[in-house]
Symmetry: C2
Subunit: 534 residues, 2 copies
């Protein structure tokens, strides 16, 4: 393809734009073709000077080639980033997928030293693997405080539920990441933890005053900045006490007055994705980009229309709405950030190290809760598994111990999900339609972590009442929650003493295996499973 | 890892063994760790001289690196094969996944010239992509005649339902493949089409005489051999008329007397996987390998225990049970086959070409059946999708038009599968438990193709009665079958005139899209979907 680079101003402006692409090499493997540019579009954008790409989906090995390909297509140094706040394996299969940060936030309450050491290794693991895959910018740590358990979008992604633990842990994370030669990103400024709606679907409103923010939400950002975080990502939130017109991402009061001036941050400010409904439903693509830049952002992430955003920004410069100095300042910040990153590898080293795989295991083991009851010694029953089907990397690939291990014990698996035949009936105290499930004791395994895009869908399922119903009938063989500590907190109060139960923050196969080997703590299962997997 | 190569005889014997490994680089991504060697085990085997690897699972881009890695680990030229009889994309995502061969077998009945040209391009597409991925041996074409529609394991994998069409089409396939520099394999000798049980789960018995085989089952093999097929894979079938003791894979009467002598085949004979229940439940690992070799096989695929198989074969040579000449003959055949393959690439070219992607589309379009009724013009309803969850590459990756397109029209998707809450109730003429499905018209989409390992599970579902039930209630909005022509043949007889319906042999997203755009043939859906995917 021939490259027709844009003119001077247009090229400079394009450098401030980040477009989204799939991690797969082949167009038709794109999981979200609506949001992910085709290779032809991507080449055209890069040729015109677009300065960054956010990648999602694909295997980590393919990602190594994908990032090399993007660099070949571009005539400048690219920022290549991804939402890998829980490990590169959260988005790119084959790399490490670590327990969600909130698990360490909980650990910090009783074992702060251990939690801090783990958070530092966590950051180091992500940065190292990102670099091996050709990414040079990790969109983490999340600096939001999950002070609202009903939060559908932050939830277990936060490093804690109070400002002290989040501040301490994100600082440790940043310390670990900073030695790996990739950039970090504190998000979502000024704090997205205290919301009950999802900015992917609408615009949440936060009533907090500037004083309240300074006392609570801003503290982790302040600490992350002090620890050298390279960039800050804005939140699509309306904070009427600070700016009654514009969401934070487009607000001068928040990006310039609060972040640049008050918090004295001179690194890169990047918007959250401007295609998200919270912004896109209110502003055109050009308008949103111009307002974000005017508010103080340096980089514009995923404008709803790349060309329109660039044109809008160029017009604003030509008309004198923005000064050349402002443009140069943002370009300079981008340039300085790129000077800090390690050179991309030309080789394709193994994605994970033994030490990193050991860290994955240690995090799982450390953050696991297993009730001190006798194990399950039932030979038959129903293994009722609720899967949270939106995970970008399924915890059900491979041997899926959550299915196989109970099956080896004689249980029959029944896998339910948000789009399947309903297991529910309309009886408040007996919500499970047991006639649809079959006979025998029920081992209940719930993979629920409060993902974005779901709204309140999961939390509406009456699992507490279902647990009580099964116990009344003496049919609850055991309970495992993988994901949300809030669902665990709620359900464990419904549990009768003596019911084997466990909570794992992580959903990965290794966590399933550890939980179930402990619950079926008999020689038969352990041996059968060892033979099965060896 | 240091390499301790085996002694002379052991090395030579090892060269005749094929072990199974995952296409993923990382051990923990193995989907079937019970059958797929870990990297440490694999390196040890290759170091001892094991001469071949069969790969399964992973992305096509990762496969390019995986095959390079295997070659680095080995000190000899390796045979690297895969079951990619329907396209490399059937097993390795990102490559082309073509419609199942039986679709061309049906096309051949009315349009033989077109079917033959497509079969030739089919073979060329597979061979070319295999070579780009580093495979040098395609385990196809299937030469079985699917003369038993209840066949659970061959079914749509066959190139036809009579010997003439299978013979013609596999010859065309071989012609296309032969120019690509990779080896081919006619399977499963002497013909696995006329069975109703699955040799993955038990040993099927075929009552046919030698004369009957010569008149029917052997013809496609004879033609494939005449066309230059490089190898023949044996079937795990008992044919008491030819050998009352041993299954074909271990039978001298079948491999030597029939294949080597009568059919005059001097290429490689390879067993089907010896770990399959049909063999493994009756014979030890060493015994099975020795019997197969004694019967006339050159290469031993997936012995239940690699070391035991090698030791067993070495003992048989040392004891004089096998001659040195016999060993040299098999090694020579392997050597001659490798001389015919093109050198592996050191670069990693794009997996698919534009012409190959066009072939995928042409096959889908050519093999599609859409009833000549008006389209679906209902704005709401239930999109009831039965998925066949064992496909190694899910047709539900990405945008899954089977879900998204009806959803854009106002339908709500309900996805059912073999391990979910049952949609059935025990009433013969009203088998669907409609109270579990919700209100409104039902668009029924069935992804059923009669996969191996499932036994008769799918065909037991009373879909004909369900179609009648929905029609009686005026609730059938439409019907689509993706996969088995037999299910389509059966269900279309139950359809009332005027019900929009379609059959697609392929299950891939592109096939879903073509079917549904045709069924919802209104401007609204087409525009909405174009906007959605662009």
């Amino acid at each position: 393809m021939s490259c027709n680079p844009a003119n001077g101003l247009r090229q400079q402006v394009a450098e401030l734009i980040l477009v989204r692409a799939s991690g797969y090499l082949n167009d038709r493997q794109r999981r979200y073709p609506l949001w992910e540019l085709s290779n032809a579009e991507l080449q055209r954008c890069l040729c015109q000077g677009v300065g960054g790409v956010i990648l999602l989906g694909g295997g980590a090995v393919e990602l190594q080639q994908r990032t090399l390909m993007l660099r070949r297509w571009s005539n400048r140094r690219l920022l290549i980033c991804a939402d890998v706040e829980e490990g590169v394996g959260q988005r790119f299969e084959g790399a490490s997928w670590l327990v969600p940060p909130l698990a360490l936030g909980r650990l910090y309450q009783n074992h702060p030293k251990q939690a801090l050491l783990l958070a530092e290794r966590y950051g180091h693991c992500i940065g190292s693997q990102a670099h091996r895959c050709g990414l040079n910018w990790v969109l983490g740590p999340v600096c939001d405080i999950n002070n609202n358990p009903a939060n559908p979008v932050i939830n277990v992604r936060a490093w804690g539920e109070d400002s002290a633990s989040v501040s301490a842990l994100v600082t440790a994370f940043q310390r670990g990441l900073s030695t790996t030669g990739v950039l970090s990103c504190a998000k979502h400024f000024p704090g997205h933890g205290d919301t009950t709606s999802d900015s992917h679907l609408g615009l949440p409103v936060l009533p907090h005053t500037r004083d309240r923010l300074k006392e609570v939400e801003l503290l982790p950002f302040r600490e992350a900045i002090a620890a050298g975080v390279d960039s800050v990502m804005t939140a699509h939130l309306l904070l009427p006490e600070l700016d009654s017109d514009h969401p934070a991402s487009l607000s001068k009061a928040i990006l310039t007055d609060l972040l640049r001036v008050d918090l004295d941050f001179d690194g890169l400010i990047v918007t959250d994705a401007l295609v998200m409904e919270a912004v896109a439903m209110r502003y055109g693509a050009a308008e949103a980009a111009v307002l974000a830049f005017e508010a103080g952002a340096d980089l514009i992430l995923m404008p709803a229309d790349t060309d329109a955003a660039i044109t809008g920004l160029c017009d604003a410069f030509r008309s004198g709405r923005f000064s050349q100095a402002r443009l140069q300042a943002s370009l300079q910040r981008r340039h300085r950030a790129l000077e800090r990153v390690m050179k991309p590898l030309q080789t394709m080293p193994p994605i994970t190290s033994d030490a990193e795989q050991a860290l994955e295991q240690e995090l799982i083991t450390t953050c696991l809760h297993i009730t001190p009851n006798a194990g399950i010694d039932i030979a038959r029953g129903i293994n009722l598994v609720r899967v949270d089907s939106v995970s970008p990397c399924s915890p059900f690939y491979g041997i899926a111990p959550a299915l196989r291990l109970p099956e080896l014990q004689g249980f029959q698996s029944l896998v339910i999900h948000g789009q399947g035949v309903s297991p529910w009936q309309s009886q408040d105290d007996s919500p499970l339609a047991l006639n649809r499930l079959g006979e025998g004791p029920v081992l209940l395994q719930l993979f629920l972590r409060g993902n974005p895009f779901r709204g309140q869908q999961d939390s509406r399922e009456p699992w507490s009442a279902a647990v009580r119903q099964l116990q009344r009938l003496n049919r609850l063989a055991g309970l495992v929650i993988y994901g949300s500590p809030y669902i665990w907190d709620e359900l464990k109060t419904a549990l009768k003493p003596g019911i084997p139960a466990a909570y794992s923050p992580g959903q990965m196969p290794e966590a399933q295996q550890q939980v179930l080997i402990a619950l079926f703590n008999n020689a038969k299962t352990t041996t059968a499973y060892a033979n099965f997997t060896s």
